[in-house]
Symmetry: C2
Subunit: 342 residues, 2 copies
């Protein structure tokens, strides 16, 4: 490899107050270090933007440490090994890791997992076969525990996780109801993803939509958004219903505490379980997930939806758009112009 | 038995708006019907007042039907069979049933359970050996699932349920923290019930008290009150903490929806489980409960606390006081003046 290889990376320039803006980010040219013993150098093809990254832009303690000002962001990325100093990976291998928001990443080989580009397009390892896919899988099956014949409601259903939750629930014999933020997305849910019913949460009160679409109530609610839809779902839950708390995108840009569900008291009489989870606790289910999800993909039982934004320099724009709901399906940024993807 | 036996019962005269008042209740003299085939006539000695009854005074659907206007209230009561037309019970038997708020109850023998007045004072079957005791037992052990060495916080800790939660948690090797509404109750928690720490929630923000008393966080929160203390507890929960949602007495008299916990989103990153429960779902644990609790009582490991109000006519006053927190331990009304109780 050439000495003094140059690459670009996106730094966090300032912490967003409310909705992030371009000025919170900075594209910086850097010299890529040589990999040390045990490390690999990976050229990124695609990187992921995910809602959870918004939390890491605040300076608050959580299950993942906050991003540091003046340093590169990180997150899921898939690429190809161009230099290896580890027996675990060889040059030419395709890998997924957490070195996103940059052209090249350098890191310990143990931090990367080999992926098979013949099984699915490379960027699928950031979506349906990656963290969002596994989030949908364990969140629905292990936290929500749906039973055939039950009604499953998922918010943010046009997103990377929500769309898979609906499709898996359908495969498990459930009635599926989804919400999204535009008429086009709602049509997509019904026509492409096989939802039994869907509504645009911007059209009116969620409680009213759920009254109409879930007349007999909800057994499992997969919550990606929090706020008004969580309250509405609690109101429509059946006895012994389960709520998988996955995220609360409606609140991520909030600058002051947002009201909690005023009807949480109903959880007593209805014997509801609300359970928060994060996917990294469920690595024991990774093999099951990969087997099931790749099988469903192969058999055409799961539809792969994505929104691709071209160019590392547009990653901030992609992320800002994600929080606004600009995407349908998994949103990724194509970093390597020569990577055709799917 | 005499023909045309007279008795008194308390009717719901009007539905309370906010805090109940005496004018919502009416003491009515009635003629007690003869028990039919399969029924018994029971003379009540003690009746229970419980927070859940407030919900039944509203005209809303819940897990127990609402009380009807112009009819007798009902609820837990313990008494003696004075006339039996069932082989299941004989005259002189002591029984617990749900025919409270009256001098005499008549009902199917199957609706009553025999109790042993030698094992514990009669009114204990309305408290430590009755519904509140079983609520504490299953809510703490089966919903909260504490492990020795963990920190258990219980609100409403001077109440019938909360006081037992703290004592059971202590028996299981946990560190126990309780909240109550007066300095006297706080002293009671520490000195009589063996709580490791306690605070008066009226003294200042609950979040501040929990910061001081649970510096390492909370593993299990047993919620009797909802509102501010629930939010404060969510803020102090450790990762993988469990919240048993038992009741929300701070909200029972509310006339408009009360704010939910603004920090519920923390349940995701902390992987919290919030689970509502009602004791009647857990009858499969009744034998375990009775064996354990009566054993602890016999061995002096559980302290029996109660507040006794004398006279059926004072039952509304007792109930109103219960919602205000006038009681320490189980609040009961002595109906039969000749019943010495404990």
């Amino acid at each position: 490899m050439a000495e003094g290889r140059k690459g670009r990376e996106i730094h966090l320039k300032s912490r967003p107050q409310g909705e992030p803006t371009q000025s919170n980010f900075e594209l910086v040219e850097v010299t890529i270090p040589e990999p040390a013993e045990g490390q690999v150098l990976v050229r990124n093809h695609f990187m992921s933007v995910d809602p959870y990254m918004r939390g890491r832009m605040n300076d608050t303690k959580s299950y993942v440490p906050p991003f540091q000002l003046g340093q590169a962001l990180d997150g899921g990325a898939v690429g190809q090994v161009v230099r290896s100093r580890s027996p675990a990976l060889k040059e030419g291998d395709f890998v997924v890791g957490s070195g996103g928001w940059r052209d090249y990443s350098v890191g310990n080989a143990k931090g990367y997992s080999k992926v098979d580009p013949k099984l699915a397009p490379l960027q699928a390892y950031l979506g349906v076969l990656g963290m969002p896919g596994q989030t949908a899988y364990v969140g629905l099956l292990d936290i929500g525990k749906p039973v055939a014949g039950e009604t499953v409601f998922v918010s943010g259903a046009a997103g990377a996780v929500g769309g898979l939750v609906g499709q898996i629930a359908k495969l498990k014999g459930c009635r599926t109801v989804g919400s999204a933020g535009s008429a086009q997305k709602v049509a997509h849910l019904r026509e492409k993803l096989g939802f039994d019913a869907a509504f645009n949460y911007k059209d009116g009160p969620a409680a009213q939509a759920l009254d109409t679409l879930c007349p007999e109530g909800i057994d499992v609610y997969f919550d990606n958004v929090g706020g008004e839809q969580l309250e509405a779902a609690i109101g429509k839950m059946k006895n012994h219903g389960r709520i998988a708390l996955c995220g609360a995108i409606s609140q991520y840009n909030a600058t002051s505490p947002t009201p909690g569900p005023r009807n949480l008291i109903l959880a007593v009489g209805k014997r509801l379980t609300l359970r928060g989870f994060i996917v990294s606790d469920h690595q024991d289910r990774y093999a099951d997930f990969l087997r099931d999800m790749s099988g469903w993909l192969r058999e055409g039982k799961v539809t792969l939806e994505e929104t691709v934004v071209d160019g590392l320099e547009r990653a901030p724009e992609a992320f800002i758009g994600l929080l606004r709901g600009d995407n349908t399906g998994k949103m990724v940024v194509r970093i390597a112009a020569d990577s055709a993807g799917s």
